[in-house]
């Protein structure tokens, strides 16, 4: 089945328990359908960073105080329009705050040395000052004093942070759209290519099968063609296999049905070709290897072994592919 490093423990469980080695009882610790993550260099297990106890306590404390990064994450989760609304609301809220700060002695906003009072003019000026501060324009025609200074600093910081997030979100949204579109186009082209190539493989195999039946063309020529076709076929099958086992982007069901149907008929024809190879004519190593790869890959395609659950129309094709794989093995 293609495994390269299989070794056999001849003693079996009997030898194991008799030798006094520890053994476990009970059923398998992992759910039956869950595949084991390949334990190879391609997918390294997450390594745990070992830290000294004191250091780890310190990092824990720092981690608990990471409200700054949590705030950034919180901002990141919001939509652009919502963030913009928050930004406006923040500005108005701070404007009201400056206005209220005017009630405290020696505090609030001053225009040309005169303190702004609680009138309507004072409220409008406070809102104006808030917008000037949050956009970091800072004309300087109105000056904060006392507690209003602290508020102005806080407003400038939070305002810039949120406004920056709005801008970056706006830009990255466009980028995400473009990347998704590129992915979609590439994927569709790939599916098209698989279908076309499977058709080509099918017609080649049909020719081979015809020539074998015809018995006019020399066997060497026909089998050389069968060899190369089988190699191309194995490559295509590998792609389909990949598609079914790593469905980050699953093809639409009609497309997948088309691919599987093409695959099944090509495999069927291959089976006929292999049967039609004249007696006494041994399979070349290349052909034998290609057929082995084909049967191994196609054997993995069945309704119960692929990780995703597909519609019944697709599973019928998959099971047929699986059956043919068993026959050509």
């Amino acid at each position: 089945m293609g495994y390269l490093k299989v070794r056999h423990y001849h003693g079996g469980i009997e030898d194991w328990t008799q030798s006094g080695s520890p053994f476990q009882t009970g059923s398998m610790p992992l759910p039956i359908a869950a595949p084991i993550v390949p334990k190879s260099a391609a997918a390294p297990a997450p390594t745990e960073v070992v830290r000294a106890p004191a250091l780890s306590r310190l990092t824990e404390i720092v981690h608990q105080w990471q409200w700054g990064s949590r705030l950034v994450e919180l901002i990141d989760r919001q939509s652009t329009s919502r963030l913009f609304m928050v930004w406006i609301a923040l500005t108005i809220f701070f404007g009201m705050g400056y206005w209220a700060a005017g009630l405290v002695h020696h505090s609030g906003l001053y225009e040309e040395g005169r303190r702004l009072d609680g009138s309507l003019h004072g409220l409008i000026s406070a809102l104006y000052f808030s917008f000037v501060t949050v956009t970091s324009v800072g004309y300087g025609d109105i000056l904060p004093r006392g507690i209003a200074r602290v508020m102005a600093v806080a407003e400038a910081i939070t305002g810039l942070l949120i406004f920056g997030a709005v801008i970056s979100k706006f830009v990255s949204r466009r980028q995400d759209q473009a990347v998704a579109e590129i992915h979609r186009i590439t994927f569709e082209e790939r599916l098209d290519r698989i279908q076309t190539n499977l058709l080509m493989v099918l017609s080649e195999l049909q020719w081979v099968s015809m020539m074998f039946a015809d018995k006019k063309t020399p066997v060497e020529r026909v089998s050389a063609r069968l060899e190369s076709t089988a190699l191309v076929f194995a490559g295509e099958l590998r792609t389909v296999h990949y598609l079914l086992y790593r469905p980050q982007q699953a093809p639409e069901e009609p497309v997948l049905a088309g691919i599987l149907a093409g695959l099944a008929s090509a495999l069927n024809t291959l089976e006929d070709c292999l049967r039609a190879v004249p007696d006494g004519y041994a399979r070349s190593p290349v052909l034998a290897h290609a057929v082995k790869t084909l049967s191994h890959l196609a054997g993995d395609i069945c309704a119960t072994c692929v990780p995703t659950v597909y519609a019944p129309t697709l599973t019928v094709w998959m099971d047929e592919i699986h059956d043919i794989a068993g026959r050509i093995a």
């Binding site: 089945m1 293609g2 299989v6 080695s21 053994f23 476990q24 398998m28 297990a45 054997g299």
Partner: protein, 81 residues
């Protein structure tokens, strides 16, 4: 050995593995230990950390449970074979 095991073992880097090596490498994540006995015997006793793929299900499930053909695998069954 049944035909399936013969077929699996019919590969380049095949060999035997001793009990000592398995004991030594029980916690080695690179070595996957596979119990090819039926579920009942697996439940009764198995090597710690082994996974169970009964002989009858090897064809169906080996592909999903052991997707990496380059992984090191140690097979065992009931007794001396």
């Amino acid at each position: 050995m049944t035909p399936e095991v013969a077929q699996i073992s019919d590969e380049p880097q095949v060999g035997d593995i001793s009990r000592e090596e398995i004991v030594r490498r029980l916690n080695d994540p690179k070595l996957t230990i596979v119990d090819v006995l039926p579920h009942e015997s697996f439940e009764a006793a198995h090597i710690p950390g082994a996974i169970n793929i009964p002989m009858a299900e090897i064809e169906e499930r080996a592909g999903t449970l052991l997707p990496d053909p380059a992984a090191e695998i140690a097979l065992y069954c009931a007794k001396f074979t």
